[in-house]
């Protein structure tokens, strides 16, 4: 593999990590929104606060990681994407800002009225953000981001592929969140809550599966390059996504939540990697390849050093944090 591809692969690993870890945080907004009034929703909202509280900031840094790697390694493609996709990106950004601050504010809000307000902002923006990030991915994957010039501030992303991308992103986030929350609830001894979550997650899983696979069809006409990749090189990933998705539903049915969580991660990771592998060798589909978009070689090498450091300095504590949150002691909903 060439240096450019290695850097692109690591960058895409960041996308995957954000889709899975950050995605589960975003998806919990749906369950928060649908938890019901303050009495019956209190347990679920407390659980959500508690499950994502310790990790959301760390999960969020994956996005920063992707951004900085992109502009360091592939500066022109970055500038082009930012220029053309300014609207969906700004809308996603708005969602990120509102979600992060509202989550923190709600946790320490003094009155029920304030908590309700911040809660709605948190939950709503949690759904808006993945949609627009998915739409951004759709625009890139369908070859609508020109390397030079920026016509298409609207037309680049108001397309079938972008809408599908957005819906798939929202659906997979909710599905992941459901699988994570149901396991957390069980571990925290909240069996009744786990049952409710299980039911909702099953429904969400079915709908998301339909969206993902029905969404493939319009791609043939709207994003031919991606379609070729998905039905060619990336086909195994599409199949893995299908099988893992079904397995997750089955495991949820028989209440094997710990396993269900793993297969859910596998399913979502396969969907996202399907997109990545499907559009290779392009960075901006039909415009510039990964290799051609790369900036200075010295910088790519420097980035490898940064990745190495990250592997040593960041991954072990991150694994420790994620492990801690899975222990019985940390799952207890007091603090």
């Amino acid at each position: 593999m060439s240096l450019e591809l290695v850097v692109a692969a690591v960058m895409f690993t960041g996308v995957l990590a954000y889709a899975v870890l950050g995605g589960a945080d975003f998806g919990s907004g749906f369950f928060d929104l649908t938890a019901g009034g303050d009495r019956e929703g209190a347990a679920l909202r407390t659980r959500i606060d508690h499950s994502i509280g310790p990790v959301w900031e760390a999960n969020h840094v994956w996005l920063i990681f992707v951004l900085v790697t992109w502009w360091s390694a592939f500066p022109r493609a970055f500038a082009a994407a930012m220029d053309t996709l300014i609207l969906p990106l700004l809308l996603a950004l708005l969602g990120i800002v509102l979600r992060g601050s509202a989550l923190a504010f709600r946790k320490y809000a003094a009155t029920l009225g304030q908590a309700r307000f911040f809660g709605v902002v948190f939950a709503g923006s949690s759904l808006v953000t993945p949609f627009f990030l998915g739409a951004t991915a759709g625009a890139i994957a369908s070859g609508r981001v020109p390397l030079d010039g920026r016509d298409g501030v609207w037309s680049s992303w108001l397309t079938p592929t972008s809408v599908i991308g957005g819906l798939v992103a929202v659906g997979t986030c909710i599905f992941l969140a459901g699988c994570f929350l149901v396991a957390d609830a069980r571990r925290g001894g909240e069996d009744e809550l786990a049952e409710t979550l299980r039911r909702r997650t099953l429904v969400v899983g079915l709908v998301t599966g339909l969206v993902v696979f029905a969404g493939l069809l319009p791609l043939r006409a709207d994003a031919p390059t991606l379609w070729d990749g998905l039905t060619g090189r990336a086909l195994p990933l599409v199949l893995v996504a299908f099988v893992a998705g079904l397995a997750t539903l089955g495991l949820l049915l028989v209440r094997r939540y710990a396993m269900a969580r793993l297969t859910a991660v596998l399913a979502v990771a396969s969907v996202v990697s399907g997109w990545g592998v499907g559009q290779l060798p392009w960075l901006l589909v039909d415009e510039v390849t990964v290799v051609d978009a790369a900036g200075a070689t010295a910088t790519l090498q420097g980035l490898l050093v940064a990745f190495g450091l990250a592997a040593v300095l960041v991954l072990p504590p991150l694994a420790y944090l994620l492990r801690l949150t899975q222990t019985k002691q940390w799952t207890r909903a007091t603090d």
């Binding site: 303050d38 009495r39 209190a42 909202r45 509280g53 310790p54 900031e57 760390a58 969020h60 840094v61 920063i64 990681f65 900085v68 790697t69 502009w71 360091s72 390694a73 500066p75 022109r76 970055f78 500038a79 930012m82 220029d83 300014i86 990106l89 700004l90 950004l93 708005l94 979600r99 992060g100 601050s101 509202a102 989550l103 923190a104 504010f105 946790k107 320490y108 809000a109 003094a110 009155t111 029920l112 304030q114 920026r150 501030v153 900036g295 200075a296 010295a298 910088t299 420097g302 980035l303 940064a306 300095l313 960041v314 504590p317 420790y320 944090l321 801690l324 940390w330 007091t334 603090d335």
Partner: protein, 480 residues
Amino acid sequence: MDPLLTSLAPLLTTWAADVSAAAEPAGLLPARQQMALSLGWHIVLACFGVALPTIIAVVHWRGAFRGDEGALLLARRWGKVSAVLFAIGAVSGTVLGFEMGLLWPGLMGTFGDVVGLAFAFEGLSFFVEAIFLGMYLYAWGRMDPRHQFWMLVPMAVSGISGTFFILSVNAWMNAPVGFDIVDGEVVNIDPWAVFTNDQVWMQFLHMWLAAFMVAGFCVAAVYAAGMLRGRRDRHHRLGFLVPFAFATVAALMQPFVGHLLGLRVAETQPAKLAAFELALETESPSPLRLGGIVVDGEVVGSIDVPVLGSVIARNSFTEPVQGLDTIPPDEQPPVNVVHLAFQTMIGIGSLFVLVVLAYWVARWRRRDLLGNRWFLRAVVACAPLSVVALEAGWIATEVGRQPWVVYGVMRTTEAAGDNAGLWWLLGATTVVYTAMTVGAVLVLRSMARRWREGEEDLPSPYGPEHGDAEVEPAGTGAAR
């Protein structure tokens, strides 16, 4: 929103409109305002991100290893405050990450791979900080406080490294290194040179100290205000003393570091120094001009101290500050904004030296100034002043670099995009950031109030028990 920036906005608008009326891209002015607003907002929170972990570490250490329960309580409360501040700091930082590309495509498209590494390492620092923050905050009651203490150490260290890396980007913009331009192409890129740029160290140190001043004075001011209202228990004294000690060290070092930084500016950016010192022409030796503005090419209203300008800016009795008349007009920064911002910062910095010295000298002479209402009021005033100094310093640095975005290499007009729609973005950002500020103030105040009333856990109020409490806030509000 930041009061200083708000009041400066019209000023910035007018100069930018007439300085660069010639052929400027539609995206320039809104992008500038947007950058000033979002950076000016983020930097205040960044100061807490950098300095609070260290300040908390001191009280946590006393609590965990010396059995001081009161100190441990402070650590716990400050931790909760930092949970709120860090959250909005992280999201406002993310805004900046996007903005580098959205507002300045010319800059990132051309130089992204020159400065990118600094951002990548900065990202690493954030990662470490975010991970250990999560652990620290949720470890209460789940981990031995002595074990928990060690979570603060990586946070403090990554605060330092994060500051260094982001400042290396800014230092690079002021004194670009690590590339050559051949036939209009950027070649021979050495991404590591960004870290060895001479300017980085002083800028980093200066910013790091500023962070301790902002966080130190702001936290100390809360407890000083409490003492003014008659709450003079040990809790308040300790809560005052620890952050104040940090602010003291920073305030005493800052003038020296700032002075060294100024000496570098004389070498690398003469136009900026001329604007700092309001030197329209080269005078040898140069006077120090206090106050004053330029009107129609004349300095009015300044107090000139002979020779002092040369002494301070050049470390010499004779060497002049190079005048603006030696700089081509299209390479001059807007003088008045830069000069006033610079002197505001210096003035406030000097005032801080007096305030902190007053306290420690009195203490050394066995007088306790914490009983003095005027001293306590002065400390309360130091909190907003430290933020004003911080903003003023950045305005001096950034506006003083104009018309360049990368000094001597790329003009800001070349970095901006051609998107007049950015005005909408600015409007929306103003609304969102105002709302975030209101939200943060509301929540932090209510936390303080509930702590005073003896509620320690601050449970999340979704359930009915807390819903009932909503009916009676009138009585509790009066206690404030």
